[in-house]
Symmetry: C2
């Protein structure tokens, strides 16, 4: 086990980033079309293809989940992903055609200090996201970078640099569950001024520093810390949980609803009006049926824990951006080495 | 009055098409950011940015609605639209940045006989939709072509060539309402073998032939006619209704729900599992409040009528594709000249 979402068999992840623009794309590509659904608890979402994931919709499966920076401009990324998938022959075969389905959510990192050249010449110099989506898909593998990487490259939180996180676990029934998340929350992943993480209770080993929870949370630490100023308004946490259990689309929706509880446990505040928080859930199905309520209860609980852990790992693994000193990284801020 | 959606002040429409690929894009651009919402009654939708239009979401307004061919590949179109809007300074001003919101729905015209070169080389020769979105936005005006044009260029219905339609009306309270639709339905817009349109009752003048309804519909005409074969599976009807009334996002959702009744009246079958039917509703707000229930009832009823008429006009105005003789156009089929 790598403690990555790629511990779920049949799923690879790739990153691509534009370091000068301080933004990037992360894609999870499935070996075969899988059942999936999503929830959108954030107040300001941006997405592509998500309506199709509602249980009453016909199409059963997806081929990739795309997480991207760039706000509305970033929604081009799924186009580049789709192009590579089509060339690779991935997707629904339909009358001799290939129709890959790459669903996407974006986060807002337009004001993080990176050089967003396309904002000056958006027509003659198009946004980089179609190409970043293409490159992330060409880069997929079992290993991938966390922290300041992919969709988490330009991400920030209320107090610290944000980033890309991942985690995995095995349920009592033997199903593998993994989470992938780009943490760019309005809120904070740390308690008060830190260094403890809200997700501390769920930590495995020392995957995000091994500090656990403080015995007591002082009242001052409950004072709200969030990005309230326009110049800080780089918001949204977007993620994916996956399992090797076999689930219907409706059961994937239930898994997404429960997995989202992981964001509730790991970030404060979360699901704010200016967050576009979106959680996808996908089931590769190779390990047998997981939809019975007790089994799905376990899958959902473990998925929530994994997503909470992934949030903390995304912040823990991050490195501050050279172009923005407002958001130090956790290790520098708390004097812990790598 | 032009009997087009552009009779609503503050709204322009542009088309762009790739004739060889037999596909295209239609965009409605608003002078200023407007309230909007949407419904997705079809079973296989493809869209971009639509989750944001739910009433519980924060962002109040949009700058453009994009209708496109190309299925999942077509979802790049909103990127080209967004780029032009950004260059023109349209969109929410946010910390010195421009964030235009272009929402989109697609229809499936991949198997209509056009040369979809990008399906052979999707990475090296990207799909044309980003550029078509850009070009449609650069082409907006008060007048625009109907029938085999824009998003309706490659569209078909169960019996006949489909196309792009539009219509407008004034309510008793003096509000202007308009509809725009790309008709690519699984079902049929004509009763039985025709030539009458299901929408015949709502016709104004002779806007789609002036034939009205048949006095009696023979039982045989109720036999289902729909695209059931994969080779015919070019489905989905997508549209927009707009008004100059001032409506909240929640009231726009209500307007979209009622406007969708126009599809119910104009197409049989409709909202099928392989249709991705999506109806947007937008309120420019220049003519005063329209949200009181009796006024909104009138707006919704007139919007439904306009959308039904627009469907019939889209089919009536269409010209058959040279690359596909399976779908004759209405005028040729019924021997009526132009």
């Amino acid at each position: 086990m790598r403690n990555l979402i790629t511990d779920v068999p049949g799923l690879l992840v790739g990153n691509a980033q534009d370091e000068r623009a301080a933004t990037g794309v992360t894609v999870a590509v499935f070996d075969a079309t899988v059942a999936a659904s999503a929830v959108t608890p954030g107040g300001a979402p941006g997405d592509r293809g998500v309506t199709l994931l509602e249980p009453e919709m016909t199409r059963g499966g997806i081929d990739a989940v795309v997480l991207s920076g760039g706000s509305v401009y970033g929604l081009d990324a799924a186009g580049g992903v789709t192009a590579v998938l089509a060339r690779q022959g991935k997707g629904m075969q339909f009358g001799g055609l290939i129709v890959p389905v790459a669903v996407q959510a974006i986060l807002f990192d337009l004001m993080n200090g990176g050089e967003k050249d396309w904002l000056r010449q958006p027509v003659d110099k198009p946004p980089p996201y179609w190409n970043l989506g293409r490159d992330a898909t060409l880069a997929v593998g079992e290993s991938f970078a966390l922290g300041t990487a992919g969709a988490g490259f330009g991400a920030t939180t209320a107090m610290l640099k944000g980033g890309l996180g991942s985690a995995s676990a095995v349920t009592l029934h033997g199903f593998i569950v993994g989470a992938l998340v780009a943490v760019n929350a309005v809120g904070s992943a740390i308690i008060g001024d830190g260094p403890h993480f809200w997700a501390g209770a769920y930590e495995r080993g020392s995957e995000f520093g091994g500090l656990g929870w403080p015995a007591r949370v002082p009242e001052a630490a409950l004072a709200l810390r969030f990005k309230g100023q326009p110049k800080q308004a780089t918001a949204t946490t977007i993620g994916l949980v996956a399992t090797d259990a076999a689930l219907s689309k409706a059961e994937c929706k239930r898994l997404a609803i429960m997995a989202n509880d992981g964001l509730s446990k790991a970030l404060r505040p979360v699901h704010a009006p200016t967050d576009g928080d979106t959680v996808f859930a996908a089931a590769t199905g190779t390990a047998g049926p997981g939809g019975d309520p007790p089994i799905l209860t376990e899958l959902g609980t473990v998925a929530a824990d994994c997503l909470a852990r992934a949030v903390a790992r995304g912040v823990y693994e991050a490195t501050a951006l050279a172009c923005n000193n407002l958001f130090p990284d956790w290790r520098t801020r708390f004097g812990v080495g790598r």
